[in-house]
């Protein structure tokens, strides 16, 4: 099955991004296809490569980057939400790309299911 994933909160502050990551990983392991992971609202903060959490905790940004590298998962950051919050191309961690809101709608159209994680 084809899944679209929507992440609405930033890393660390809310569990939303962690849950989305665990769900996405489990879906891939079961052989499903991830159409796209779309980051909206504060979710755009998941793409900030400068995130440097304590070494005894998980690094949510890096987890997403690694997933993109290993499985070619498309990580799209909403341009309007990113500009508002000060995320630009220079800050993007590996695997993330900035694009328009249309990519979210398209994920809803192409995917069999759209699953939202937020606050």
């Amino acid at each position: 099955m084809k899944f679209g994933i929507l992440v609405n909160e930033g890393p660390f502050t809310h569990q939303a991004s962690d849950s989305a990551y665990q769900f996405t990983k489990a879906a891939i392991e079961k052989g499903h296809e991830i159409v796209r992971v779309f980051f909206y609202h504060d979710g755009v903060n998941n793409s900030n490569k400068l995130a440097d959490p304590p070494s005894d905790d998980r690094n949510v940004v890096k987890l997403w980057s690694d997933l993109a590298a290993e499985h070619g998962v498309e990580l799209i950051v909403c341009v309007a939400a990113a500009m508002r919050r000060g995320i630009n191309d220079d800050l993007l961690a590996a695997g993330f790309k900035i694009s328009g809101l249309g990519q979210l709608v398209e994920a809803g159209i192409i995917g069999d299911r759209l699953v939202t994680f937020g606050d």
């Binding site: 569990q15 849950s19 665990q22 769900f23 489990a26 079961k30 299911r113 939202t116 994680f117 937020g118």
Partner: protein, 102 residues
Amino acid sequence: MALLHTVNKSPFERNVISDCLRLAKDGSAILLIEDGVYAALEGTSASDEITRRNGSIKFFALGPDIEARGLSEKSLIEGLTLVDYSGFVDLVEEYSSVQSWL
């Protein structure tokens, strides 16, 4: 055609589980995740609402979130099923669409 609803907030903090139950049809399923798993506890000031719909709606809770919060040894609402992330994926596949109660 039946929906999977997800609820990720504590029933003691927010009214979202009540909102969800008001609009969830019989035959649909509700998966409790993140802080939503506190609604799975039996015998709390919030559990009556769920037990009242138990049977007509299928209730699930995410095991990893239950364990993280130290609730494994506590009594959970009867008939509620624990799933892991893989089971979460299966539920999304099984139901026609997902409504996340943010």
